[in-house]
């Protein structure tokens, strides 16, 4: 299966990845080869088979709705690229 460079560019946009033209070409070749491998699974008869989300068929555990986290804003924001008055800074979004 061929994933052409135009498709790669559009997937990269969906995934918010900037790619150079060279990277798009390289990714097209490699991802096409990998999709070829993946397409082998279409030969498996899965009629009547339920998808398996968890190998032990476990379900999401629930807990009571209580506040358990403590406020660590400063510790967590210490790693942020740009912060002001406790807020994360990004380029202007609204003109």
């Amino acid at each position: 299966m061929v994933i052409d460079p135009t498709t790669i560019a559009s997937i990269a946009h969906l995934a918010r990845l900037s790619l150079s033209d060279d990277e798009v070409q390289l990714a097209s070749g490699k991802i096409s080869a990998i999709m070829g491998l993946i397409d082998e699974m279409q030969s498996v008869d899965t009629n009547g088979v339920e998808p398996l989300a968890h190998p032990l068929d476990a379900v999401q555990r629930l807990r009571s709705d209580e506040i358990t986290e403590i406020n660590q804003r400063e510790e967590l924001q210490a790693n942020a690229p740009a912060v002001e008055k406790g807020l994360f800074l990004v380029p202007r979004v609204i003109e």
Binding site: L37, A78, N79, P81
Partner: protein, 490 residues
């Protein structure tokens, strides 16, 4: 006290010496720090070495021992794969994205080991975000195999495996999403255990594919893996997929006799693509088990061949979702002078993720995109059920499954760099246990061309004690696990 060099002693031996006062944790830690200084330049196992902090922890351990407060791992110097959050220490995941990230909290698993009195020497190199089987995909450069510097150590826990083989830590930790503990353990000649999905908390382990990821110990001996798992395993309310089941004493059952053990050999694991010398090594190991009274039976896991295809949909799909958190806003790398918010996202991610990570994010994005979801993701999850059910059926007839860990010994650095399909096919024997959530272990079983070869043992869900018992008995009658590279014996 054993007369072997310290860095070749097992945790059991080291623990006894620490308890007897034959050596202090400070001396032991300094010994490893000296070896890291001497050898890390050529092997590139460590991304971060915590010299000052480890000596402080060793000092605290020595005071605890002097006060008579010694536990099995008190004062033992360990190193962790660099995807476990370690409070106050850089946790890079082998990525430029997290090159500047200091973990503000401790993962549950490393926290358990810390509370057990262990010393942390540092953080180990890995394929970026654990994506890879050769440790060539690290922002910090490839790790070299201590047995031969021109070949890969395996991956993604390549730094963890190579550090063990070179004697740079007493034990290490790794993570295994599709074979990332067992395959490098095989290629570096050490013991590597991937427990049942949910056995060890994933909290604070940077997520790659959440339904497959599982942490585990990488050690010199199976007995050491049991000591590590005793501390690493357990229920954690902070991980919603952690299993609430009692942790047995894994050391207590290591010496159970194996007479009557039923071993299954999947015919699909001894098929085309398996190096004939690796096959012979594995068959010799299985013959050892027959001498111990085990019986061997051929079985079939008919969907093995499709595990790679299903895995390379499920793992990238989950990865593309998990890695969306790296947006250049709250932590990690941010590009210079973004023009607008979208440019900030795209260039921060584009400039800091390596090509393998980008390719997998794109495969996952594609497989999950509108119109393709059923054809790829749902189909893969159906095949996942068939794979799991193959194992459940097999375990009605056998107690453990054995086979090779990897189809070949370690290959030269760069040999498969441009052929992702060839690289992925190397995971054929390890991936299906992740899809099925089963525990698996690789132990050294022989050498081919001067490179180690591992035997893989797979057990039913939560039967880690059986795996460890079976592995330990092999190490009582063979000495492959005691071999070390000649020039690193020191």
């Amino acid at each position: 006290m054993s007369n072997k060099p310290l860095h070749q002693q097992s945790l059991t031996e080291l623990s006894r010496s620490l308890q007897d006062g034959a050596i202090s944790s400070t001396e032991l830690t300094q010994h490893y720090l000296d070896r890291i200084k001497q050898l890390n330049g050529e092997l590139n196992c460590f991304i971060t070495v915590c010299e000052e902090q480890s000596l402080q922890q060793a000092n605290a351990a020595d005071r605890a021992i002097a006060a008579g407060n010694i536990k099995p791992l008190t004062g033992i110097p360990l190193a962790h794969k660099d995807l476990f959050c370690t409070e106050g220490v850089k946790t890079s995941c082998g990525s430029r994205m997290l090159d500047n990230w200091i973990a503000p909290y401790e993962s549950t698993m490393t926290g358990n080991l810390k509370a057990a009195g262990t010393v942390m020497l540092g953080k180990l190199n890995m394929d970026e975000f654990a994506m890879g089987g050769s440790n060539e995909n690290s922002y910090y450069g490839p790790v070299r195999n201590p047995w031969n510097r021109e070949v890969i150590p395996g991956g993604s826990s390549g730094g963890s495996a190579a550090a063990m083989a070179a004697g740079l830590a007493a034990a290490t930790t790794g993570s295994d999403t599709g074979g990332s503990i067992r395959q490098p353990a095989s290629m570096c000649g050490i013991t590597g255990l991937k427990p049942t999905y949910g056995r060890i908390s994933r909290w604070g382990m940077v997520a790659f594919a959440s339904s497959l990821d599982q942490a585990g110990p990488m050690t010199r001996t199976v007995e050491d893996a049991a000591l590590m798992l005793n501390v690493m395993a357990g229920f954690d309310p902070k991980d919603s997929t952690s299993m609430d089941r009692a942790v047995p004493d894994y050391s207590a059952t290591l010496n159970e006799p194996l007479k009557g053990l039923r071993i299954g050999l999947p015919k699909e694991y001894f098929a085309e693509g398996l190096d004939s010398r690796v096959e012979q090594t594995v068959r010799n190991a299985i013959a050892e088990y027959e001498k111990m009274g085990a019986t061997v039976k051929e079985i079939s896991l008919p969907h093995t061949h499709h595990s790679i295809a299903a895995y390379y949909v499920i793992a990238p799909a989950e990865a593309s979702t998990n890695l969306s958190r790296f947006d250049g806003v709250r932590f990690g790398y941010r590009c210079e002078e973004p023009k607008n918010l979208e440019d900030l996202y795209q260039r921060s991610r584009g400039e800091s993720f390596g090509s393998e990570v980008k390719n997998r994010i794109m495969i996952g994005t594609y497989a999950l995109s509108a119109g393709y979801y059923d054809a790829y993701y749902t189909k893969a999850q159906k095949i996942r059920r068939l794979i799991r059910d193959d194992f459940l059926r097999a375990f009605e007839e056998v107690d453990v499954i054995m086979g090779p860990t990897a189809p070949t010994p370690a290959f030269p650095i760069g040999a498969k760099a441009n052929d992702p399909v060839a690289m992925y096919l190397g995971d054929i024997f390890t991936i299906s246990t992740n899809l099925a959530g089963l525990p698996g272990m690789s132990i050294p079983a022989g050498m081919v061309d001067g490179l180690p070869v591992g035997l893989q043992i797979i057990a039913p869900h939560f039967e880690e004690a059986r795996l460890l018992n079976v592995g330990h008995q092999f190490q009582q009658t063979t000495d492959w696990h005691l071999r070390t590279p000649v020039d690193l014996r020191g």
